[in-house]
Subunit: 353 residues, 2 copies
């Protein structure tokens, strides 16, 4: 114990990193991470590296022996890079992508504009920035296992008045067949993660998630929601980081039990066809509405393969498809058209009011 304590005090970054079993070398050179150990940029990079590795290992554990993540470490000539991990055509996961990126450079004017429209006070139009984030989309093969998406990110923008920073992120679930117990388990796990930090977070970020993941032209949500937030720069940098850490750490316990429970469920041609149609809706949301995807694809020299990793391996569009009355497919659609208060938060609030 004394020895390990001494080590931690000495903080030998190289050893720390070896112990963590990350998917690849960090993007920022070790020497730089070592020098800036207390910097939030370093802490965020280490967090997303760890979350990526833990989630990839957890997914691999559910797969056949030979199905492993392929790892692409890439760099950007403008500064920084990323690690893209993809597992494609597995028995359990049809397409699973877990990506981190650590980038810096000058923000393009369009990005500054978008941030201003969200209320940021930014003076000039080409600003130095730093962004580090992890994002993942998992499309399982079995239609009884939902798709999960999460993304946690940290942003710094250097203005003439100093550095502005904030966190954003969220985790959300897209089932093909509604299992209410699963949805409650998922939301409850996220709520616990939020409640540790502020009891107002879960209800607020649950609603934000329902609002954000809307396929407007169809008047339906992408899935059963979860949490979503942006511009979190409160109550302090340390506490905001701890909150994001809790959320990111909640991904595995919120999702992996659903995979384990349903990966061997029976299904047939009909269920597969429905899953493919819903995957078409997933594509519609991501390509038409998702801020991150649109923003990414309109950035010059974007690594579009990492951005579009979120798209399913297979998708389908049928003209005027309508689920049968009282079918399980229609049951799902009802929840997508009218988001549910899974944990009875509003009812309990009304009761105590």
């Amino acid at each position: 114990i004394a020895y390990s304590q001494m080590k931690r005090n000495k903080a030998e970054m190289k050893e720390i990193i070896q112990l963590k079993n990350y998917m690849a070398e960090p993007i920022t050179p070790l020497s730089q991470l070592e020098k800036n150990q207390d910097d939030m940029k370093t802490q965020m990079e280490l967090l997303i590296m760890r979350i990526q590795a833990e989630f990839c290992r957890a997914l691999e554990k559910e797969e056949d022996q030979e199905a492993k993540f392929k790892v692409d470490r890439w760099t950007r000539k403008e500064g920084g890079g990323g690690i893209t991990c993809v597992l494609q055509d597995g028995r359990v996961f049809e397409k699973a992508g877990v990506n981190i990126s650590v980038v810096h450079g000058k923000l393009p004017p369009a990005a500054v504009q978008q941030m201003r429209s969200r209320g940021k006070n930014l003076q000039s139009s080409e600003l130095p920035f730093f962004a580090a984030g992890v994002s993942a989309v998992i499309h399982p093969r079995n239609p009884m296992v939902p798709t999960i998406h999460f993304n946690y990110r940290y942003f710094e923008v250097q203005d003439k008045d100093g550095v502005q920073w904030w966190f954003g992120g969220g985790t959300d679930l897209t089932p093909y067949y509604l299992n209410e117990e699963d949805a409650v388990h998922f939301h409850l796990t996220l709520k616990h993660a939020c409640d540790e930090h502020d009891p107002s977070y879960y209800p607020k970020f649950k609603k934000w998630c329902d609002d954000y993941f809307t396929i407007t032209h169809r008047g339906e949500r992408r899935g059963v929601g979860g949490i979503f937030f942006d511009d979190v720069d409160y109550p302090s940098q340390k506490e905001a980081f701890n909150f994001v850490t809790s959320c990111a750490e909640a991904v595995i316990p919120s999702y992996m039990p659903l995979v384990q429970r349903h990966k061997d469920d029976a299904y047939g041609y009909h269920e597969r066809q429905w899953q493919l149609l819903r995957r078409g809706r997933y594509v519609e949301f991501n390509l038409i509405y998702d801020r991150g995807t649109k923003f990414g694809l309109h950035t010059p020299e974007a690594r579009y393969e990492s951005i579009l990793m979120s798209l399913p391996l297979n998708a389908k569009w049928e003209y005027m498809h309508e689920p049968k009355q009282n079918s399980p497919e229609e049951k799902l659609m009802k929840v997508l058209k009218e988001p549910r208060d899974w944990l009875n938060i509003e009812r309990n609030q009304r009761a105590t009011a």
Copy 2:
């Protein structure tokens, strides 16, 4: 002959319409069409009805007996409506959609803004408009048969200074395997249609097509192009209409021979997989870049099923797919990355200069 001449002079709209064997009743009531026979709005509605019917019949002729277009005639509460014809899961055509719409009402401010950004001089922000158009996307099952898309439309906007009108449209081809003879035949047919009206049209509209159908983030075109134009309000309304008529009439001779030639070509799993990946790219273009799709989906109360009829029945996204060197797939990619001068127009121009 005298009798039929007399009939034409009497122009009994009801009989004209019965003779044409349209897919459904016109959107505009017969009595109104009859009253306004010389109006361009009437002429355009009859043109698109005829083009729709002729194209649907031509496609059905290549199909098995039982595969027929389903016809949906729909109306919009703001004014007008459309006829959507879809043939899905045929032996020859995996998904074929041929749509007309005849709509009128008030242009939303965003649409006026978009038109202004294209140089239209429009004074107020909510303007009465009329739009009539035909559009079709045909996704064949055999990967050796290309996908075709075309759209021809007429627009009127009522400003305080009077009515502004213009035509727009185009026809373009998306092969999965490049057949140079097919591409030349396709372009030549379109060129002949253009040349009847103005020899400068084909080269100009061919380039416009290559520029428009670009998947910017991938640096590739959607297909081998064709023609594309907008804001055609010259040399006169009658001549512009005749030009659009020629283009629309060129669709069948430009495309059907390719269907007939290749619908029974041999192919296997590999070719099908490649076709599905390219269909994923088609979805990317339509959902991210296509002006009509974006505009349509952002219009309140849009009939999204008719707009998204253009999406393929099946599509696929693989992370980092790269065609093998010197493969037929790579040969196609080269043409998509660098559009070709199929009819040697530029070379001949240089030679005669």
